[in-house]
Symmetry: D2
Subunit: 402 residues, 4 copies
C-alpha cells in the first residue's frame, strides 16, 4: 500500500517535491515524510523497545497539527525545507518500513496500523492535489504524467433517483476501518427527496457561466458573493478558455466530464440557478446504501495500477462506466455542515485530535474522487473542507424535494 | 413599538450615534435610519401613489445588504456619515412614521408591516450591542445609562432537565410572526439527552480561566485555537480584572450572573473542559417547548419599560426570577450550524434576501438576551453568528447524552 | 491666534468633529484638544505651581506621538472618541486659554509659547485637510463652507527663473521662530538651473492624463508604479469627471488653478513626462530667497480673516495675484529627502521628538498652501510627507538643468 | 567571471536552488537564469542574426523588473518554478556562454558586455544572501559551506579619521565601468567631520542590546520604532543567543567581528545611543578617496578563489588585515537617501530602467561586503536598500561633527 505513495511521487524531481504553493497545500516531500513520521511516532517509538528515531529533529519538521506532540514547524514554512532532500526522505521511508515489519503481525497494534494506512491514503490524494496546484503556478504549465490514454467521457442521461423518506441508518456500520467521525452509527429522519443519477458536467457549468452565473449576486450565499468579488472568480479553478489544467498539463476540456475544482459557494450558486438544491450528507448516504459501490471506479490499487491509470489522472476525469458516479469521479459537496454525529466521542489519545477538532465552519463532501485510493471509498466516509476551498477534485450532484 | 428605538438612542449625542467601531457593528444613527428606510422602501414607495422619498440619496446610504436594491455604501464606511445629523435622522423617522399611519389599517400590507417591526426589533438589540462596543473603545469607558438599580443575581442550583428522545416537532408552528428560516415546521429525531436548567455563570468561567482553559490547545477546535492565538484571547470580551464593561461603564462583575460575550469557540472549549457538550438547536427547542416562555424576563416592552430597565442593561445581566433562564439573559450557542430546514424556501422578492443567504459558516443561538425586545422571543427563533463573534450578549448552557 | 482654530471648526457639528477617515488623518475634535494638551502639558503643568489638569485622563487621549509622555491612544482609535463632546473640548480650550494668560508675559517661556502657537498653526492646516478627507467619504458630498465667492484663476504665462549656481545660504537665518529642522543655517553648493515661475495647472495635468500618463510604467518610480497599480490611481485625489471635491462640496474644476492633491509619485511622473524634473529643496529655497514672500497670498490672519476667506477654501484654489505662487497655493514637492541639515541637533527634552524622528522615507515640500496660516509661511519651512500621501494641498513646480 | 556563479551554486541541490524565502529574495536558480537571460535578451537576441532563444517561454520566467520587456512572473511566484530544473538552467548557461563567445571581441558591444558582467556580479552577491536567508528558515539550520578555516577577527583600536571640510569631488571619475547612478561626477560641499577607522563590532552591539537599546523609543526613528514593535526585533537578523547563522550553519559569534545584518533603523538607533551619527555618502566617499582600496579584502576573484574563501563566507566575517575596513567586510549604511546626483540622466533604452526608478524611500550604503565580487568594489559604488531591510551583509561606521 505504502509503495503507491512512492509511485505517485516518482515523476517528481527534488525541487518539485519541495515547493508549497499555498498554506492549504503541502510539499510532496512533506507528505512522504509526514506519513512516515506517523508510523515512527505512534508505533515504533511507543511500541518497540530501544527504537531510535531515524533523525530526532525530523519529528519537529514532519508533525502536522498534533498540538499534543510539541511545537510544529509553522505550516506555511513547509516549502522552505530543501533539506532533507527527496532521496533522504525516501531513505527514511525505507528505514521505517523495515522497522515496521515485525509489528505488522501484532494483532493489538493492528488498529493503529490500519489507521496509519488510512492516513497514508488520505495523503496520497493530497499529494496529488497539492502538486497539481503547485505545478499550476508555473507559467510553463508542466506535466507530471503523460496523457496517452484519454478516453472521452460518455454522455449519460441524468435520471432522478427517488427516496421515499423515513428513518435511515447512517454512519459506519461494518467491522472495517472507519474514522471516528463516521460514527456512531445512528438513525436519521429523512423527508421524501430525489437525487440526480449523474454529476453536473462541464457542459452544464459552461451554461451557468454563459448565463452570467458569476455576475448575479442573488444566486449566491452572502459569503460566497464576497469571495467571488474579492478573488474575481469567473470559472472553476484550473479553467482557461476551453482548456483545463491537469496532471498532464493544459488539456482540452471534455464537456461531458463532471465539473471539478469548484467551491461550496459555486456548487450552491449553481444549484440555486438550476432551481434545485444540494443534497444533505444523510440523503446522499441513504441513496448510496441502496447502490453498489462501483469498484471499477476506484482509481488506484497498487503501484502497478497507478502506472496504468496515470493517464487518467493526467486527463480530465472521465465518466465511470455506468453506475451512478457516486465514487471515483469527484467529491460531492453536500449542504451538511461537518458536525459530530449524536453521541460522538473523539478517540482517546493523540490520534483523537484527528477529526473532531475540525468541526466548525466546514461542509461535508461524500463519495470519492479519481485521486482517492481504491480501498479508501465507502458510503460513510465524510470528507470536509471550507466552503471556499476548491483545489481538491470537488464537484456536485443536484437534489430536490418531492 | 418604534418609539423604543428612539428611547434607546436618547442618551446618545450626535457623535455617539455616528461612530462605528468595527465592520460587524453599525452606528446608532444608521440603525435609526436603516429601519426607517425599510418602511419607506418596501411599503411607502411601493404602495403609496405619489410618495416622495424623504431624501432620494438616503436610500443608498441606509440600505444594508439587499443586493437587489442597488449599490450600497461600503459597510465599513458607515462610520463616516456625520451628515445627516442625529436630529435629521430623527426627523426622517417622524416623517415616515406619519406617512405610515394610513397603511397600518391595510390588512394586505400587515405581513410586511409586521416584518418591518420585527426587523426594527432586531436592530434595537444591535443598536445596544453596537454602541456598547463603540463606547468600549474609548479609554474613558463612558456610561450610557445609569446603574442605580443593580440587584445581585440570585445563586441558583443547576439541575439537569432530561429528555427521553424520540421525534420532536421543530420550527415555527403558530399564526404569529416568524422569519422564513424558522420554518417549515418539521419533525426531528432526537436521542435521549439532558440539558442544564441554568446558564454557565461568571464564577464557573473564572474557574475555567484559572484552570488554564485558554492555554490548553487540546480543549479547542482547531479554528478556535488559531483565533485564541491570533487575538491573544484570555477572557470573555469586556472583562478586565474583576470588572466588566457595561452600558453603565466599568462595573464589578457579579460571579452569579451568566457569563456573556463569549464566542462559539470559547463556549465549545468550556463544554469540553467541563466534560459536557453544547446542545443542538433541536434539543434546545424541544426542551423549551416543554417550558413556559417566562414573560417576566423579556427586557423591553415600551419606552417607559425601557426607562425602567435601563439600569438592568447598564448593570451586569441578572438572573431571571426563577425559571430556566431560557429567554432574556443571553443568547445560547448551540452546536448546530445555521442551515435550511427541510423544504425551506426563501421568501419571494427582495425580503427573500433576508435570511437564506447567510447559511454558511455560522452557528445557531437560541433564547433571547437582556437586550432583546420582549415580543421578539420565541422558541423557534434562530439567531446566528460566526463562531468568532462575541459582541452580542452570548453565553452557553451545557448538555449531555443520557 | 488660537481663536482661528475655533473659527475653522465652527461649521462642524459634534459628529463631523469626531470622525476619522484614515490613520493619517485625525478628527477635528482631536486637533482642538491636542493643541490644547500641548499648552497644558509643556507649559501649565510644568511651570504653574499647583495647576490641576482639566481632566487627567485626557492627557492619554490627546497625546499624539510623544513617546516619552506615556502610552498613547492607538492612532486609528481617535475616531472612536465620541466623548468628550465637541462642546466639552471647547470648554477645555477656554479653560487652558484662561490659565495661560499669566504666562504670556513670561519672557523665559516665550519660546515654548511660540512653539505652541506654531504647533497650533500646523494643526489648523491639518484640521482643514483632515475634515475635507472625512467629508469626502460621505456619498452625499457635504459642504463645510459656502462658496459664494469663487473667482476664476487668472491664466499666467509660465517663465523660467534662472539661477547661476554657486554657494547658497540655506536654512533659517533670522530671529523669528523656526522649527529645529530648519537649521542650522548652512551653505549649499548649487549647479546652474531654472525653475518655472508658475505651478503646474489642472489643465496641464489633464493633458498628462489624456496622454496615458497613469498607464505608462516607464514614467514612474518603481514604488510609484506599484502604488498606482495597487490603488488603481487614475487622477489626483478628489477629482471626479470635470469636478473636484472641496470644502464647499463638489465643484467644477478650474483648469487654470494649480493642480493639488497629488502624491510625490505623481509629481515625479509628471515631471518625467514633461521632460523636466522636480527642484531640490535647496534650489527652491535659493529662488525663494530672491523673491518677496507675497503676504497677500497668506490664507488666514484672524478669525475675521477666515470668515472672509472661507469661500476661498471652499472653492478650488485660485491663482495668487501676480508673484510666483511660491506661497499660499499649494505645497510643492521637491526631490529632496527629508534629512538632517549638517550639524543638526534635535531640541532637548520632549519637544525634541518633534521633527528629527521623522527623518526617513519622506520628501520635503516647500512653500505653503491655501490652508496654511499666514504667519506660518517662510522660505526655510520644510514640510514633509511620504511619497504616496496626497490628502494635503500638494502640487508641483518644474525645474530643469541649464 | 561567470563561472564563479556556478561555483557559488555548486553546494546547492535542485531543491535548495528553487526555494524562495521572501519577496525580497530570489531562488538561486533564478539568479543563475536571470543573469543569463540578460545576455540573451540584450546581446544575443539584438545583435546576432538568426539567434534562437534557448526557450522562448523562459524570457517571461526570468525577466526581473524591466517593465518595458513584457509581463513578468509575479515576484513572489519565483519560488514555484520547480521546472526547469537546476541542471536545465546550467545547460542554459552553457548554451548562452557559448553563443556569447564571438561577441566578446566586438568593441561596440563591450559596454553592454561589461554591464552584463557587473549585473552578474551583483547577482552573485544576492545569490549568497538570498540562499542564506532561505536556509535560515529551515529549523535544521543546514550548512552550505564547510567552516574549516575560521580565523578569529583581530581586535583593532578604533581611530577617528578627520576631514577638514571643503569641496570634494564625488562620483565616478575613471574610465572603468560604473552604473549610471554613480555619475555624473560632481562637486559636494562638506563641513569638517571625522569618521571612525573601524566598523562597529558584535561586541559593541551586544552592549547596545544589554543597555536596552531595543526598548528605548527615544533612540529610534519613528518608522524604526514602529518596525521594532511590529516585528518584535531584539537583535540583528541571524543572532541566536551567542550564535549567528552563517553559510556554514549556526556558529559561535566572534565579538571582534563587525556586526552585520542590521537595518538602517538599527544603525541609526545605535549611532544615537553612542552619541554619534552615521556619515553621509559624500563624507564616506571623501574619506575613501584618500585611502587605498585594500585589494586583499576583496572576497572573490575566481572560482578557485571562491573555493578558497568558502570558509570565510561560511564563518562569521573576519576583520580585514589592517586597513580601514572600507571594503570587503560589510556594506555600511549612510544617512544619505538614494537620490539622483546633479544632472543625472538615466541611460537610454531598457537598461535605463536599471537604477533611476528606485530613487525613493531607500538609503545609500557604501563599501562592499565579504560577499561582494572583488572587481565590484569602488569608492563611487552606491548600493541602496530600504531602511528596514537587513538580509544583506549590512553594518555601520560612526561619524561625528568636528
Amino acid at each position: 500500500m505504502r509503495s503507491l505513495t512512492e509511485a505517485l511521487a516518482a515523476p517528481l524531481g527534488d525541487a518539485d517535491a519541495t515547493i508549497q504553493s499555498m498554506e492549504d497545500a503541502s510539499p510532496a516531500k512533506w507528505h512522504l515524510a509526514h506519513t512516515t513520521w506517523f508510523f515512527e511516532t505512534f508505533l515504533l517509538s511507543e511500541h518497540v523497545d530501544g527504537y531510535e528515531p531515524f533523525d530526532p529533529d525530523w519529528a519537529f519538521l514532519f508533525n502536522s497539527y498534533y498540538e499534543s506532540h510539541g511545537e510544529r514547524n509553522a505550516r506555511f514554512n513547509r516549502g522552505m525545507i530543501s533539506r532533507p532532500s527527496l532521496d533522504e526522505v525516501l531513505a527514511y521511508r525505507a528505514h521505517v518500513n523495515a522497522a515496521m515489519e515485525p509489528l505488522l503481525a501484532d494483532d493489538e497494534l493492528a488498529p493503529l496500523v490500519v489507521l496509519g494506512c488510512a492516513h497514508e491514503q488520505q495523503h496520497q490524494e493530497l499529494l496529488l492535489t497539492d502538486i497539481k496546484h503547485a505545478l499550476f503556478q508555473n507559467p510553463l504549465g508542466p506535466a507530471m504524467f503523460d496523457a496517452a490514454r484519454d478516453p472521452a467521457a460518455k454522455r449519460c442521461e441524468p435520471e432522478w433517483l427517488s427516496y421515499p423518506g423515513g428513518i435511515a441508518k447512517i454512519g459506519h456500520q461494518s467491522d472495517g476501518f472507519a474514522y471516528d467521525c463516521e460514527g456512531p452509527s445512528h438513525r436519521a429522519l429523512l423527508e421524501p427527496f430525489a437525487m440526480r443519477s449523474t454529476l453536473v458536467t462541464n457542459r452544464e457549468w459552461a451554461e451557468f457561466v454563459a448565463d452570467g452565473g458569476y455576475d448575479d449576486a442573488l444566486l449566491w450565499l452572502s459569503d460566497g458573493w464576497a469571495w467571488v468579488q474579492e478573488n474575481d472568480v469567473q470559472a472553476p479553478l484550473y479553467w482557461r478558455d476551453g482548456e483545463q489544467f491537469t496532471h498532464a498539463g493544459w488539456r482540452a476540456r471534455d464537456p461531458d466530464a463532471p465539473v471539478t475544482h469548484i467551491s461550496y459557494f459555486e456548487a450552491d450558486a449553481f444549484a440555486t440557478w438550476a432551481g434545485r438544491r444540494l443534497p444533505t450528507e444523510f440523503e446522499w448516504e441513504a441513496i448510496a446504501r441502496g447502490q453498489d459501490c462501483p469498484e471499477c471506479d476506484a482509481a488506484f490499487d497498487s503501484a502497478a495500477g497507478n502506472q496504468l491509470d496515470a493517464g487518467r489522472i493526467g486527463a480530465t476525469p472521465v465518466m465511470p462506466r455506468g453506475g451512478t458516479e457516486l465514487f471515483g469521479d469527484c467529491w460531492q459537496w453536500t449542504r451538511s455542515a461537518y458536525l459530530p454525529f449524536p453521541r460522538f466521542r473523539p478517540a482517546e489519545g493523540a490520534v483523537g485530535e484527528y477529526n473532531g477538532k475540525f468541526m466548525s465552519g466546514q461542509f461535508v463532501l461524500k463519495g470519492a474522487s479519481c485521486a482517492t485510493a481504491r480501498g479508501h471509498s465507502r458510503a460513510s466516509y465524510r470528507n470536509f473542507f471550507y466552503p471556499h476551498q476548491r483545489w481538491q477534485f470537488t464537484g456536485l450532484r443536484l437534489a430536490k424535494d418531492i
